[in-house]
């Protein structure tokens, strides 16, 4: 072994922050237009539902938010599996962003469900199977985000969140089954619910527009949040390094 005397010690390597685009994203513009169009159409150009009246209009927001909430969680679950397999932090940023946007849409689902339920069913809350499942989704999301907030170490945060994301996805079918079994025990009052397939065409079209516009909105919000995740990680790395 030769006696080495290295005077130039290399600076610790830091992952270079990815270029982030500034400026308004096209997705946002399209999303805003689409959502606005949906609302205008829903309020002015779609017929009033006979039994429920104006309150039914909120129903365009409710199942569409629910769809996005569960879509987001599906992304969280898949990204979690991906992270544990590949250990790529990009996947953890995807999960993190999907979760934060997802929890917002979950909250919107719960609130709109409640707002819709009051004039229609006369109560602010019912243990409707889908609503209950959404409530549990909300709890899982909140637990996921609180867990992330409680861990400083970047890798541990990613690993632990991934574990929770996967277990949460496994839980969902069990909750669904439990609620179903529970409800067969306690027959809830049968309330007339609008059976969606027999909606007139205009309502179906508005629904379709709502689903599409909310999905676009999700993508826009997700992309913004993802950019933020990249910048935050780069900043943390610089501070530490």
């Amino acid at each position: 072994m030769t006696t080495q005397f290295t005077s130039d010690v290399r600076a610790p390597a830091v992952a270079s922050p990815q270029r982030t685009r500034s400026g308004i994203s096209w997705w946002f513009i399209v999303a805003v237009i689409a959502v606005a169009a949906t609302y205008i159409r829903a309020i002015y150009f779609t017929p009033l539902e006979a039994i429920q009246g104006p309150a039914q209009k909120i129903y365009y927001v409710h199942p569409t938010s629910a769809w996005v909430a569960f879509l987001a969680f599906g992304i969280v679950a898949l990204a979690s599996i991906g992270y544990l397999w590949l250990k790529d932090l990009k996947l953890d940023r995807v999960a993190e962003s999907a979760a934060e946007v997802g929890v917002v849409f979950t909250s919107v689902t719960l609130v709109t469900g409640s707002l819709w339920g009051k004039p229609i069913w006369g109560t602010w809350w019912t243990w409707d199977a889908r609503l209950t499942l959404t409530l549990f989704l909300w709890f899982i999301y909140v637990g996921y985000l609180v867990l992330r907030g409680a861990i400083e170490d970047r890798e541990m945060r990613a690993r632990y969140s991934a574990v929770l994301g996967i277990l949460g996805a496994l839980l969902i079918p069990f909750i669904h089954l439990s609620v179903y079994l529970f409800r067969t025990l306690h027959p809830m009052p049968i309330i007339g619910k609008p059976s969606r397939p027999s909606l007139p065409n205009e309502m179906l079209e508005t629904f379709a527009l709502a689903f599409v516009s909310f999905t676009i909105l999700f993508i826009a919000l997700f992309r913004a949040r993802y950019r933020l995740a990249i910048e935050r990680d780069a900043l943390d790395a610089q501070e530490r390094g």
């Binding site: 549990f136 637990g143 574990v163 277990l167 949460g168 839980l171 069990f174 079994l181």
Partner: protein
């Protein structure tokens, strides 16, 4: 090389129980908490509205989950003091053995709390268990396995975080619902003297939960201790 996975798990479980037996604080806390909670529920109850037999299963299972959480908390905190966990991780045993050992010890711990709570409920709520002790113990065992499987994993994670005492219940309780619901329903059937078969139907979801989550948590555990 080292002992087999099961052998190592038993060693670890015995070690955990030896520590618990030596200090006893966690067990006493959990047991006293359970008894107090049973009493408080009693005083919060209107006996003219609900019969003891109807109240008992719900009370029992709510208490099991909360007393269980107290016990699960201590499961990994004992490893963090002085980095004893490094001693476990440095041994030539599979990480799954550590999970299994901890879970086994937790089953004994939570089981012991349940063994105190069940007679207490029978006593305070005038709910004779008749000849159904064994069946109820069976339900309790199945449910405890599920509670402990999830709780052991989450306590391994929570202990490494800032908000460990808040996080453990926050993460675990949603997972406890598919356990507590069938367990309480089965217990209620058994207490009210219905045929055992009716209770057994509820056990199917409990069994499914146990199978899925014991496997999933055992597979997930190495990810919580690797670096």
């Amino acid at each position: 090389m080292g002992p087999s996975t099961l052998g190592a798990a038993l060693l670890i479980a015995r070690k955990d129980l030896a520590i618990e037996f030596r200090t006893r604080t966690a067990f006493f806390s959990a047991a006293v908490f359970a008894l107090l909670a049973i009493v408080i529920f009693f005083f919060a109850w209107d006996p003219t509205a609900v019969a003891g037999m109807d109240l008992a299963p719900g009370v029992l299972w709510v208490i099991f989950t909360f007393a269980g959480l107290l016990g699960l908390n201590r499961s990994f905190s004992v490893e963090l003091a002085d980095r004893a966990i490094d001693g476990l991780l440095g041994a030539p045993v599979r990480r799954e053995a550590i999970y299994l050992g901890k879970a086994l010890a937790n089953v004994v711990f939570v089981g012991a709390v349940e063994a105190i709570s069940i007679p207490a409920v029978a006593l305070f709520y005038n709910t004779p268990f008749g000849g159904r002790w064994l069946a109820i113990a069976g339900v309790a065992l199945l449910a405890t396995i599920g509670l402990v499987a999830v709780g052991t994993l989450f306590s391994a994670m929570a202990v490494n975080t800032r908000l460990s005492e808040l996080l453990l219940p926050m993460l675990s309780l949603p997972f406890f619902v598919p356990i507590v619901m069938p367990a309480a329903q089965a217990t209620a059937r058994l207490l009210s003297g219905r045929p055992v078969v009716e209770a057994a139907n509820w056990l199917k979801i409990l069994l499914a939960f146990d199978l899925v989550f014991v496997a999933a948590c055992m597979m997930a555990f190495p990810f919580t201790v690797e670096e």
